[in-house]
């Protein structure tokens, strides 16, 4: 048996680097040592030292305040009001949140999301790790080509890809069903059956994101020192054993990143179902973000949509934190 009591030092202590000199710093002080000032002059020194830095981050800060922080805070305010987007607002307290509890469509969309999540994330993570391992192995030729090949879908615009997939997944005359017909299979209602539609969307997600996550995994694999694997081999571990008992544990933080990232991706899923199925058939692929989108822009109930966003954000934050906690957990 191979023990995995390997020195995993992901948190090597790093000595804080000496403070790098800022442009303009020390200019005019020929002595090289300035006595520590106090009071207002201290503020002035601070300003002289870091003033430029603040000027440089100012444009971003303004954009961030105007286009990120302000809308976020505003949505908290919106969530306790009834408002169609213009005209008077009505204060409704927590009624919007209460209405969510009995909103059948919202719960349906949450359930759909869970199904897509459970189909997509484990499958995608597993395949990404396996493909990355294969790409990382020495015996594969044309590695660069395969890497680009697997990454290409990620570079394709999702809207364009979505429409193409929709055409290919048409029950009548779509490419997939025609190919199935050639090999003697019966046509599959890719988008016209509630179960298949969920599968099709998960499939498109895997296609679009597999390359990205494979590259992440590949980068992780390349940080695993050869001597560790070498030692395992010398100890008589088989390839499978090395994979599950050396590679996977060492990859834990990378896999963790990949899972957390794809969790957030899945929670935000919108484009794929919006284009492929429009949320149908019979709401089977309606997702919370689609619900928020249509509540905002189609039915103009902005307050309710804001409440939905916050409730949804809460769930997403909890799930993400739990996952992050699980993956960065220290080895016993």
């Amino acid at each position: 048996m191979v023990r995995t009591s390997l020195p995993v030092s992901t948190k090597a202590k790093v000595r804080p680097a000496p403070h790098p000199a800022l442009p303009g710093e020390g200019r005019g002080s020929t002595t090289g040592h300035v006595p520590e000032p106090s009071g207002p002059s201290r503020l002035r020194t601070f300003g002289r030292r870091y003033g430029w830095a603040y000027v440089f981050i100012l444009p971003f800060a303004i954009f961030w305040l105007g286009f990120f922080l302000y809308p976020i805070l505003y949505s908290i305010f919106l969530a306790v009001h009834d408002w169609p987007g213009a005209g008077p607002m009505t204060y409704v307290g927590v009624d919007n949140y209460k209405a969510l509890l009995s909103d059948r469509r919202f719960w349906t969309s949450a359930r759909n999301l869970s199904v897509i999540y459970l189909l997509y994330v484990p499958a995608m993570t597993f395949f990404a790790l396996v493909i990355a391992s294969v790409l990382n192995a020495g015996y594969l030729r044309l590695q660069g080509m395969w890497r680009s090949f697997i990454f290409v879908p990620h570079a394709v615009n999702m809207v364009a890809a979505g429409y193409t997939w929709r055409l290919m997944m048409q029950e009548e005359g779509g490419l997939y069903n025609r190919l199935l017909g050639v090999v003697g299979g019966s046509p599959i209602p890719w988008l016209n059956d509630p179960t298949w539609a969920v599968l099709s969307i998960s499939l498109l997600m895997v296609w679009a994101w597999l390359g990205f996550h494979t590259i992440i995994m590949l980068a992780g694999l390349q940080t695993i020192p050869d001597d560790v694997l070498e030692a395992a081999r010398v100890d008589g571990a088989s390839a499978t054993q090395r994979f599950f008992h050396v590679t996977v544990p060492l990859m834990r933080p990378v896999i963790g990143f990949s899972v957390v990232y794809s969790t957030i991706q899945t929670f935000k899923i919108f484009t794929q179902p919006f284009i492929l199925t429009g949320g149908g058939p019979a709401n089977a692929t309606m997702t919370p973000i689609m619900q928020i989108f249509s509540t905002t822009f189609e039915t103009l109930r902005l307050g309710y949509a804001a409440a939905m966003s916050w409730a949804f954000f809460g769930v997403m934050a909890v799930v993400t934190l739990l996952l992050a906690k699980f993956f960065v957990r220290k080895e016993g």
């Binding site: 000027v55 444009p59 213009a86 005209g87 008077p88 016209n192 019979a282 039915t299």
Partner: protein, 456 residues
């Protein structure tokens, strides 16, 4: 030297950006508080304010107006622009064409922001009441009221709220049956004999037996509820009744949905999402023989969907549900609106009146684009009776005119239409998947509509 100019440019950049951010947020603030007060005031004494704000335009009226609409609407208007420029030489018209969905969204955003909108926009009847709810459209009562007798009766209600009119009705959507005359002949079906929907069903069976062709095509799991809405409209029913209460769970609605279900079950109707690729290619290759569609459907079949079948189609009134019932419905339609924020109201009024109250303008658009209007004086023009090649020389304009004046009023379009349509579509989809009966579908839909819209 260098450092100084860099300091200056950095500061300038920062100030500009800060100013930009401030102006955005102050505009945002306005729509919450100030905007509300403003529109409340406008509501209270609407008539006086409006009376002042609509000066009569004449040939000296000047200004630059911006018109937002989808490309195909813009193309229609452009046929009349030369004449408009002659009548109003001082007015300059600029069009911005974007898809109708984008037009809706951008007009909504501009109403919300209180600035940045057009002077005139085309808005579809189906969503117009949402814009009225946002309180940013001009009250056009003074412009519309004198012309009401010239406009299809059903159109007025679509732009009206509390007795005031917020849009000038334009396009109409009388619904009829377009049928493939050659396929009917092959199957030995006499279109004249199809008077009721039961006759239509019998024709579907006969067509299937003799030619193997389906009578129509409509999506099952992809259903968009549009056919169902036409059936409701024909019966003068709707999602809501006259008093605004949810009324989709009516016997007439169950009857319509059961009828649709029977055609699908017996494979008389193909499962193709309406107007999408599979549907249009089937139409073009003759896989189904009829389309239950509005006047604009005939136009689009001709131009884009089924050009290969030109000359083979004919049009006829809808079969009735009961003897003496309406022989048509409505699907689609649009109006012109002038946002309250427009600073060129006089010129905007001149544009709307020139395009929509002048019969020649409508006739010109019909001749060039076969776009159907709700402006009734157009119907007397000889151009309406001209033979149409796509329909084998049938003067379909005459049928459109006859049906347009018979369209019943129905509770389909309104402030909650997008929501109700979405709910209904999902329930119909689950009906086609065999998860519920027609009666359950409309009952569930009614329940959800009440829950989401707060109606009784």
């Amino acid at each position: 030297m260098k450092t100084k100019s860099m300091t200056a440019s950095c500061l300038l950049l920062a100030v500009t950006m800060f100013a930009a951010a401030c102006s955005t947020s102050s505009a945002d603030g306005e729509d919450g508080a100030d905007g509300a007060v403003g529109s409340d005031g406008a509501d209270a004494d609407a008539s006086e304010v409006v009376a002042e704000s609509w000066p009569q335009p004449d040939e000296n009226t000047s200004g630059e107006i911006l018109v937002w609409a989808s490309e195909s609407f813009v193309n229609s208007f452009e046929h009349n622009v030369p004449a408009f420029n002659e009548a109003h030489p001082e007015i300059e018209v600029t069009f911005r064409s974007q898809s109708q969905r984008e037009t809706n969204r951008n007009v909504r955003l501009s109403l919300s922001a209180g600035t940045g909108g057009p002077d005139v926009a085309v808005i579809e009847d189906s969503v117009l009441q949402q814009f009225v709810q946002l309180q940013g459209l001009s009250d056009m009562t003074e412009l519309v009221e004198p012309h009401l007798e010239n406009i299809n009766d059903y159109k007025a209600g679509l732009v009206e709220s509390d007795g005031r009119y917020f849009g000038f009705p334009w396009e109409g959507g009388p619904v009829m049956i377009y049928y493939r005359q050659d396929l009917f002949e092959e199957a030995g079906i006499d279109p004249e004999a199809i008077e009721t929907w039961d006759d239509y069903y019998a024709a579907a069976v006969q067509l299937k037996e003799r030619t193997g062709v389906a009578i129509a095509a409509d999506g099952m799991a992809t259903n968009d509820a549009r056919t169902f809405e036409k059936f409701l409209w024909q019966q003068g029913l709707g999602y809501v009744d006259d008093s605004g209460d949810v009324a989709v769970d009516s016997p007439g609605a169950v009857r319509a949905l059961e009828f649709m279900g029977r055609l699908w079950d017996e494979e008389l109707v193909l499962d193709r999402q309406q107007y999408e690729d599979g549907w249009t290619s089937a139409a073009n290759s003759g896989e189904f023989a009829t389309v239950i569609g509005a006047a604009w459907v005939g136009r689009v079949l001709d131009l884009f969907w089924a050009p290969d079948t030109s000359g083979l189609w004919r049009a006829m009134p809808l079969p009735v549900w009961e003897e003496g019932g309406a022989r048509t419905a409505n699907d689609g339609g649009s109006a012109l609106v002038i946002p309250e924020q427009s600073e060129q109201k006089e010129a905007a009024r001149a544009f709307v009146e020139f395009m929509l109250t002048r019969t020649e303008s409508h006739v010109n658009i019909w001749e060039k684009e076969t776009r159907w209007t709700a402006w009734e004086p157009t119907y007397d023009d000889p151009a309406i009776s001209a033979p149409v090649e796509f329909f084998g020389g049938q003067p379909v304009g005459e049928l459109y005119a006859e049906l347009a004046q018979e369209i019943p009023e129905a509770g389909i379009y309104g402030v909650d239409y997008p929501e109700m349509n979405e709910i209904m579509a999902a329930e119909i989809q689950s009906f086609t998947l065999g998860d519920q009966t027609a009666e359950e579908a409309v009952t569930n839909a009614a329940h959800l509509m009440r829950q989401y819209t707060g109606r009784s």
